[in-house]
């Protein structure tokens, strides 16, 4: 018996094991983090990370660059804030409501935008998001320039008081991990494989008999809904929904986060979100220099660093693994 056990072959980690380990490490790090780092900062980063993961689902796995994702983040934020404040709904229902509105908005916008590809897709989503911005600016319930302030956090499921920072943090963490796992599952499902096939070669996917538009639309709605979930959570955490959330600069921010972290890398947007939110925190006193630096990061990333932080690390590890395989 014992001899057999020692003779067992060395553990071979499959890609699935590695994914599980990576996810576990991330969850553990994020669970310890609030005892070391300012939790409000972490909550902001997590909201942006989920937002960027949702965006990455489109650009990274379907090859669609949406320049209007702020409308889903901001739209859900407004609806959640309104539901929690004016209607007095509990936070989980308010968040679900915001997410549902974002999904519906995603269905309408997606149905229009997927009629064109590439650059046009980016311009169309940008245009529709700008229209949505003007609607929010004019509408009564959004509070115009003031936004919706002092949104009550309420009690989650009726008994978890979200006014405590740590409780709020772990609620946000749970939402983030849930959203992240859903995206991860989607990417590795047969549905996700079809999405990648569309990204690589759309005419081939069509000739294989896939209804490409349906797949694209479904991916768009999913991405919009998850971006909405991020916005809804953000509105509850910061007790605020404002025009900043729907402005095109927010759409630009999420592109930047994903590009810097790594387009089409599962962990790219998470890393990117932490870097960019930290950068914005530290540079806040320098005002418009933030815009200049963000623009600079865009330029550097596009010219020399197209894989992003996570992409570069993964490539470096691949090379190291190949080298050790050759050595043995």
């Amino acid at each position: 018996m014992t001899a057999e056990r020692t003779a067992a072959p060395p553990v071979v980690r499959t890609a699935k094991d590695r994914d599980a380990i990576a996810f576990g490490v991330m969850a553990a790090l994020l669970a310890i983090a609030p005892f070391v780092v300012y939790p409000v900062f972490l909550m902001k980063a997590l909201c942006f990370a989920l937002f960027a993961c949702a965006f990455n689902l489109l650009i990274g796995y379907v090859g669609l660059l949406s320049f209007g994702h702020a409308m889903f983040l901001g739209g859900a934020a407004y609806c959640t804030a309104h539901a929690a404040k004016a209607w007095g709904l509990p936070p989980e229902i308010a968040i679900l409501f915001g997410t549902a509105v974002a999904a519906a908005l995603g269905l309408a916008v997606g149905a229009l935008a997927i009629r064109r590809q590439g650059i046009y897709f980016a311009m169309i989503t940008l245009g529709l998001a700008q229209m949505f911005y003007f609607v929010c600016l004019r509408a009564e319930f959004t509070g115009g320039e003031n936004g919706i302030q002092a949104v009550p956090r309420g009690r989650l499921l009726g008994f978890i008081d979200l006014d405590g920072t740590m409780t709020m943090y772990f609620a946000v963490l749970a939402i983030f991990l849930g959203g992240f796992a859903l995206i991860h599952r989607t990417i590795h499902s047969p549905f996700g494989e079809v999405l990648k096939a569309i990204r690589e070669h759309e005419p081939r996917a069509i000739s294989l008999g896939y209804d490409v538009d349906k797949y694209k639309l479904l991916a768009f709605v999913l991405s919009a809904a998850l971006a909405g979930l991020a916005g809804a959570t953000k509105a509850i955490v910061f007790q605020l929904a404002s025009l900043t959330d729907v402005h095109w600069t927010m759409s630009g921010d999420v592109v930047l986060i994903t590009l810097l972290g790594g387009l089409g890398r599962v962990y790219g947007p998470v890393v990117g979100a932490f870097v960019i939110v930290a950068l914005e925190n530290y540079l806040a006193p320098f005002g418009s220099w933030i815009t200049v630096i963000q623009g600079g990061i865009f330029i550097v990333c596009v010219l020399t660093f197209r894989q992003g932080i996570v992409g570069e690390i993964e490539e470096w590890r691949e090379r190291a693994r190949a080298r050790s395989a050759r050595a043995s």
Binding site: L65, R116, M123, G127, G287, S288, T291, G295, I299
Partner: protein
């Protein structure tokens, strides 16, 4: 509903003015897109730069409006040439989305730098002496400067159309849009053509900026929102034809002006609604070719 004719005509005039800027900007975008396959997100920022160059020239070199009308597009065009040679050229073989991201970054840098220097408020720029005042044309009082902007931009658009569609240089350009490799085989320096085209396209944006300076104030954000509307104009018109982008620029400006008269609440959004309608009924755009 009765609308006083004076109000109607003045809104139509504003519509035509906006249309002139839409036409000049979407024309530049279309030319650049044709040859570089890049949507120039920096177009709005370079339009702003054109206005600021004019303001700088007046403030520090004593050069007035008329010289600025030539110098500012040249300066911005030269900057465009540098931008194309140092950055955009490296992206030629990549997915065109990278060009969009790069020029978005350039736009943020330019806009941020102007804001650091000037804040968000605008600098006034005076109407040149020769164009001050207004003329009574019977049905309305027409401010001279505004009439000039419309006439001049129609001229510039026509000239651009003529160069592209009717001259030898234009035929090279159109040929290089269709098949750059073949045109190169005929001994035409296509990379230089591409660089100069980008320079010319952003020069047009700067020209629009100088024209706009006396009407709007010269401010760091003047181009940022403008460019999003121009993108909608481009989607509506389709980028396949030069004439198409000119016509759709002017007519969409007019439609926007009419909306301000009859349903002012929708004036911010009407072009985006039109964009959505065009996508439903004619996805390639009114003048576009199916891609």
């Amino acid at each position: 509903m009765t609308i006083p004719p004076q109000a109607l005509f003045s809104q139509l005039l504003i519509g035509l003015i906006n249309g002139s800027f839409y036409a000049l900007l979407s024309l530049g975008l279309a030319i650049i897109f044709g040859l570089l396959n890049v949507i120039n997100f920096a177009h709005g920022a370079l339009y702003t730069t054109g206005a600021f160059v004019a303001w700088f020239l007046l403030q520090y070199a004593g050069l007035g409006y008329w010289p600025s009308l030539v110098v500012a597009p040249l300066v911005v065009g030269l900057f465009g040439v540098l931008l194309e040679r140092t950055m955009l050229q490296r992206l030629a073989k990549l997915d065109p989305l990278y060009g969009l991201l790069l020029t978005f970054g350039v736009a943020l840098v330019i806009q941020g730098l102007f804001r650091i220097q000037f804040g968000s408020s605008g600098q006034p720029y005076e109407i040149p002496d020769a164009l001050k005042g207004a003329t009574d044309v019977g049905f309305m009082v027409l401010p001279n400067y505004r009439a000039w902007v419309i006439v001049f931009s129609v001229l510039v658009c026509s000239a651009t159309w003529y160069v592209i569609e009717r001259t030898k240089l234009g035929s090279y350009l159109r040929a290089a849009t269709e098949n750059p490799v073949l045109v190169r085989a005929f001994g035409i320096n296509v990379p230089r053509l591409v660089t100069l085209t980008y320079g010319a396209g952003v020069g047009l944006a700067a020209l629009a900026g100088v024209l706009a300076a006396p009407i709007y104030r010269v401010s760091p954000l003047m181009g940022a929102d403008q460019i999003i509307v121009v993108f909608a104009v481009v989607v509506i018109g389709g980028m396949g034809s030069i004439l198409g982008s000119i016509v759709s620029g002017f007519s969409l400006g007019l439609i926007e002006g009419l909306t301000k008269v009859f349903y002012p609440e929708a004036s911010d959004t009407v072009l985006f609604v039109l964009m959505a309608l065009v996508l439903v009924f004619k996805p390639a755009g009114l003048f576009g070719r199916v891609t």
